[in-house]
């Protein structure tokens, strides 16, 4: 059975080489039959990677410990869902997932994209070349079907890292990879446009859906990662600016910049070079993330230890960058723009600021991520760049970006005037300033930056609502439709625009949660004996004792805590430590009492005297639920904007 998986991958390499060669010859000779055969090659690669993936799933599900990968990452009594999710717990499996997803995407591009037949050979050559790289790694360096030496079959596996035994870990890697791999498609179309010298906005129109889908998955991947960190790591935070977290956030930022800047190319045929550069940077950053995970050059909690694949990824990344830059520079004359801006103050110019801040933030994160290496190379001293640096450097940049997010939609295309600005901004700005001042005095600590951040978010929130209101009013006046109907029709008939606003709404809700937890969280670490209380804000937590229970083979030690808020009992919380038979360290499972206003978050840190005394970390994280609600709204907005039909058409091009 293992041979079936291995030979599928081996055969996929051969088919990939054939497919690439067939596409190149078909392009040179304009041979339709050969092109169709190469398309068949794409289907074959999908079939073969699917077989390999199904075989690995089978081994994982049946706990066949003669396979080293299964032995390394699972154990017999692991729940079936976690056994299957161990597919991407290790190096080889995650590479197979990448290759499989890329094969699926390539097949969708080949067989489901209409009207792009002449571009497919170019696009697919690039995508299959990418997949060939992963398949070579899988066959020659990180084979997931390697057997235990000596033909042995241990009775038990090493088990899955307890921290990965969380529902978040089922979705986080898959969504993140769907995002990473998804950006390969617009990248391939961009390079194909450069090769064929058809650098108009066709490639942007064709790939918009792909870009938005990849962006959506990357957003979800980051959010699932944040949620996992929040509930699993027990430190009360959700983002630790680890190099690998940074690696998934950077392409998100540049991808977001790309999604906005392409609108200027669609409307005005401008920024062609910039858009090409942005999608190349985004794609290279996805490879950079994978390089970081597998190279071990930076200290990270996410690393696949000693995988030895870093050099290969570095080489591939350099090759992809060199090829991309060659095509970009050699076609630079074709990309020069003809049109002009009508005014300094216009939506176009605000998009440029938006791009500057998004790419600036990505650069700040990149700079901070690689600075330890630079310091070591120049000074011979390795420094650490972690949370305080990234928070301090990125907070002003991202806050400015959120402000621009509020300003941008309210400025007219082409040219805006003072009257236009006053009309659109006066009320939101006034209300935001009043709210900011009120919050400064009302919230604890009288924190200027916290209140400022809230005020900016409130400003953007109000501008979004104002946009919906204005649009609804205009439609009501023009058609006489009732307000609710006018709003629904307005949104449905301009799905791209209003889908974008819904996404902005989701981002603002996430930002409010970030500000709430960042500036106004309260925390206490306290040691208490049975019967003693921990008081934090208006919560009183009474420690009733430490208990234990068996869950299968695992022993769960949990604290029984009753919680009062303002003198009223609101229930019990049971933070846990789980001891696994197959793992040395226990895993912490936090207990959360969540409301829309705040999360009461309790982690069991340690105990002594046979459990009569225990230490707890207690946090109050304001507005935390809004991060997850914002995430769902972001997904809804994206689906709404992408939904096919008349309302999803592009905006008009200005002549």
């Amino acid at each position: 059975m293992a041979q079936i998986g291995y030979f599928s991958l081996l055969l996929a390499i051969a088919v990939s080489i054939y497919t690439i060669a067939a596409y190149i010859i078909a392009i040179k000779t304009d041979n339709c039959r050969l092109r169709a055969s190469a398309n068949g090659g794409v289907a074959a690669i999908l079939l073969l990677t699917t077989i390999a993936s199904v075989v690995l799933f089978y081994f994982l599900a049946t706990s066949d410990f003669s396979i080293k990968y299964v032995y390394d990452y699972t154990s017999k009594n692991l729940p079936i869902l976690y056994k299957l999710s161990a597919f991407w717990a290790g190096n080889a499996g995650s590479l197979l997932l990448w290759a499989w997803l890329l094969a699926i995407y390539t097949a969708v591009v080949t067989f489901l994209t209409r009207g792009q037949e002449e571009n497919i050979p170019y696009v697919n050559t690039i995508l299959v070349l990418n997949n060939l790289f992963f398949l070579i790694l899988l066959v020659f360096i990180a084979n997931p079907f390697t057997k235990i030496p000596g033909g042995m079959s241990p009775v038990e596996g090493k088990g899955l890292n307890p921290m990965l035994q969380n529902p978040g870990m089922i979705f986080h890697p898959v969504t993140l990879y769907l995002g990473y791999v998804g950006f390969a498609v617009p990248y391939a179309y961009a390079i194909a446009a450069l090769i064929t010298k058809k650098v108009g906005d066709t490639w942007i129109k064709v790939t918009r859906r792909w870009t938005v889908i990849a962006w959506l998955f990357l957003s979800l991947g980051n959010l699932y990662g944040a949620q996992w960190a929040y509930v699993e790591l027990g430190w009360g935070g959700f983002w630790a600016w680890d190099p690998v977290e940074n690696a998934s956030f950077m392409p998100w930022l540049t991808g977001t910049a790309f999604l906005h800047s392409v609108m200027i190319q669609e409307r005005k045929d401008m920024l062609k070079i910039w858009n090409m550069a942005l999608i190349i940077i985004t794609y290279i950053l996805t490879l950079f993330g994978t390089f970081l995970v597998r190279s071990g050059v930076l200290q990270s909690v996410h690393s696949f230890n000693n995988s030895g694949l870093g050099t290969w990824f570095l080489l591939f990344m350099c090759l992809a960058l060199a090829v991309s830059l060659y095509f970009l520079t050699s076609r630079i004359n074709l990309l020069k723009q003809a049109r002009q801006f009508e005014s300094y103050i216009s939506k176009e110019s605000s998009f440029l600021i938006n791009n500057l801040l998004l790419v600036g933030s990505a650069f700040a994160i990149l700079w901070g991520t690689v600075f330890p290496l630079i310091s070591e190379a120049i000074r011979g001293v390795r420094v650490t760049v972690s949370v305080p640096y990234f928070n301090k450097v990125n907070a002003p940049i991202l806050l400015a970006m959120i402000f621009v997010m509020g300003v941008c939609p309210l400025i007219a295309w082409r040219r805006s005037s003072l009257k236009n600005l006053l009309n659109n901004f006066m009320w939101p700005l006034l209300l935001a300033v009043i709210s900011g001042v009120a919050l400064y005095f009302y919230l604890p600590g009288q924190k200027f930056y916290g209140a400022l951040a809230y005020a900016i978010n409130i400003f953007v929130l109000l501008t979004i609502f104002q946009e919906f209101y204005r649009g609804m009013r205009v439609r009501h006046r023009a058609t006489g439709e009732a307000y609710p109907l006018a709003l629904i029709r307005l949104m449905v008939r301009n799905r791209r625009r209003y889908g974008g606003y819904i996404i902005h709404l989701g981002i603002i809700l996430i930002a409010l949660a970030v500000v709430g937890t960042g500036a106004y969280k309260q925390e206490v670490t306290q040691q208490v004996s049975v019967g003693e209380k921990i008081v934090i804000d208006d919560y009183t937590l009474t420690f009733n004792g430490l208990r234990q229970r068996l869950e299968g083979e695992n022993t769960v030690v949990y604290a029984d805590i009753s919680v009062d808020k303002g003198g009223t009992n609101i229930g019990a919380l049971t933070p846990e430590n789980v001891f696994y038979k197959t793992w040395d360290q226990p895993s912490s499972e936090v207990a959360i009492h969540g409301t829309l206003a705040e999360d009461l978050y309790v982690a069991l840190a340690s105990w002594k005297d046979k459990g009569r005394t225990a230490t707890f970390k207690v946090h109050i994280n304001p507005l935390m639920s809004w991060m997850w609600i914002g995430g769902y709204i972001l997904v809804l907005g994206t689906i709404f904007a992408l939904w096919p039909g008349r309302g999803s058409r592009l905006g008009p091009k200005y002549k």
């Binding site: 600021i353 600036g360 310091s375 650490t384 007219a412 295309w413 040219r415």
Partner: protein, 161 residues
Amino acid sequence: MKRKVMQSVLVLILINLVVVLPVSAAEPVVNEELFKEIEANLMCTDGCGMYLQACDNATAQQMRQEIREKLAEGMTPEQIYAYMINIYGEEVMAAPPPSVPFNISAWVTPFLAILGGGLMIYLALDKWVFNNETSESQIEVDDVDLAEYEDIIDEEIKRYY
């Protein structure tokens, strides 16, 4: 079955007696805000790569104890950072300390890059708008109105022509 029960009992005894993380018997009473501020600027030093605030292993707990002791001894945050750097190296700081001149580049480069980018945008806009100033009429387009009315006009055209 009996063996399994015995195993479980042994595990529980082990957890109660041995595996539990050590907790200091007597933690010095210190200014908690100051303690948190110092903790937030340090990394755990056992190679786990985690921010001290986020880490709960034995080394992290020992470091916290050390911070409390130094605070109780009356040391200032700066003195505690210097003490930590002396023992663990510059790497113990969670951000490059700006007291080292080279580290200033870590802090200012992103902002210089953004300023440079802003300047480039300004120069580009200056060129694009200047070239265009005389060629376009002074019109202002309200986006919402335009989109809505275009939509309605489209429908009217379809209906009547």
